[in-house]
Amino acid sequence: MKQNNRWIDMGLLSRFASIGACQWSLLRNGIWNEIRIQFRHGFYYAYALVSALYLIILQLVPIEYRESANVFITFTDPSVLGFFFIGGLIMIEKGQHLLDPLFMTPYSPEYYIWSKVLSLSVLSVLSSSIIHLFTFGFTAHFITFLCGVWLTSIMFTLLGVGVAAKCTTVNEFFSVSSLYGAISMVPLLGWLNLWESPIYLLWPTQASLLIIQSVFEPLHIMEGAYAFLYLTVASILLFGWARHRFYRYMISIQGGGKRL
């Protein structure tokens, strides 16, 4: 009965795929529960305020820079909000020992992770939509833009789950996450024309930037394929990593580390 620490295997892929096929109601209820908790913690009020603030800022930015400012704001805030919020949420639930009763129900750690990730992506999409729609209206590639925000949010929140799983305090999470955050933001150097290099294509966040920017500069089909495929693959791999860390550092603390 050895613990299985491989984080990418056929069992994992089948579980990942099976989330779409079975027990949608459990996932739907999990997402709804998470949204309710996030609402109660004031996340929605906070982002209503933040979005309003960005709207004002965008109105103050000269019109020739407004599109770039929208891409920059969307990429650096609403798209990554889950990365930071997930740390707070997991730390609170860890501190209150809520995982014990939660996992004494059919709710598995996989559902727990996806409920958090998808619920926070709702907030990302809402905030990004408000900022974009109130500034530019419904543009031709708005849906592609939202898909970019959604996939980026999923990727960053999964990264946050993996980081938070090992941390014991909110302060520890923020100090560790700032390192992960800084590394993931490297492609901004190229986007801001500070240092050009094709190496940014290795960063999944380069794909995020391409898709988010496509609302103003439509992507070539190959660029689009690269960006969407890379973000999807990165999210699958990050789910495996986050899940592995979750079992290793959170479930093993409660139980013996054996997957349920």
Partner: protein, 289 residues
């Protein structure tokens, strides 16, 4: 309902097994008490039984299947109330129960009904952060019962409750037993175990020292003693202790009856707690973690 055979469990990083050679069975409709001081291994035993610790050796069959190979549907059939009642503090009791209820696919009871079971219906819309420890304990029990599980694991269910609410919870447990539910009660409250359990297991240092019904244990543990208090003619008061079955033949007792002033006669039965100390050499409240 539960069959445990040669169970050993060692925590990761530990050299010594915490649970050693445990063997017991629990039948359907039984209230089974796992008794022992803190740190004895009763909570670890419960964690193995509820599938939290799967790296054990031996065999642990719960609801007909080996617990190490159980899947998430197992949790549709068991209810667990941990010793520490943890909830989403910023949500109300109603919202908390609604949330947990939404995680089951089996039929569940209405939230109001669950709150009524534990007399919290008047506090349904109060945030859990404003609940007392006793109220949280009752809410904890309600949460474990919402999906009508045939098997319940209750860890110190009356901890922090006032006598009235403790009595109410005991009545609820008796009702659950009458409905045919099986209850595994983990406690160091011997009085509770004595009142509720069909059988109890004494757990000390990771081993089961004894399993039997509380009544038989007490009967086998020793005779009931009778304390006879009497006054001499000069006013001195003395007490005589006689085993109850020797009372009718005891000459000293007859002499006291005839020639001394009898003050009182009391019988002293050995409590489960005293029996526990006698069998294990350990007090129940020692080694608190």
């Amino acid at each position: 309902m539960i069959e445990v055979h040669e169970l050993f469990y060692t925590y990761p990083g530990s050299k010594q097994p915490l649970l050693q050679d445990m063997n017991f069975q629990i039948g359907t409709g039984e209230i089974f008490g796992l008794l022992g001081p803190s740190g004895a291994g009763k909570s670890t035993t419960q964690k193995v039984l509820i599938g939290m610790l799967k790296d054990y050796t031996g065999s642990v069959k719960v609801l007909g299947g080996e617990i190490a190979s159980s899947n998430r549907t197992f949790y549709e059939k068991i209810g667990v109330a941990f010793e520490f009642p943890n909830f989403y503090m910023r949500l109300t009791a109603r919202e908390n129960l609604q949330m947990f209820r939404s995680l089951y696919s089996v039929p569940t009871v209405e939230v109001n009904e669950a709150l009524r079971w534990v007399s919290l219906e008047d506090y349904a819309d109060r945030k859990v952060q404003d609940y007392s420890k006793g109220m949280k304990m009752r809410l904890n029990l309600a949460r474990s019962l919402m999906h009508h599980p045939p098997l319940l694991f209750l860890d110190e269910p009356t901890s922090g409750l006032d006598p009235t609410n403790a009595a109410h919870i005991k009545q609820l447990m008796i009702k659950l037993k009458e409905e045919g539910r099986t209850i595994v009660l983990t406690t160091h409250n011997m009085a509770l175990a004595e009142q509720l359990c069909d059988r109890v297991a004494f757990v000390v240092d990771g081993k089961i020292r004894l399993i039997d019904t509380p009544a038989r244990l007490m009967k086998e543990a020793g005779q009931t003693q009778v304390e006879v208090k009497y006054a001499h003619k000069d006013g001195r008061v003395e007490a005589l202790h006689i085993p109850i079955h020797e009372l009718s033949q005891n000459r000293q007792f007859h002499s006291i009856m005839n020639s001394q002033e009898l003050l009182s006669i009391h019988s002293h039965e050995m409590s489960l707690e005293q029996l526990f100390i006698r069998v294990t050499g350990r007090a129940l409240h020692e080694a608190e973690q």
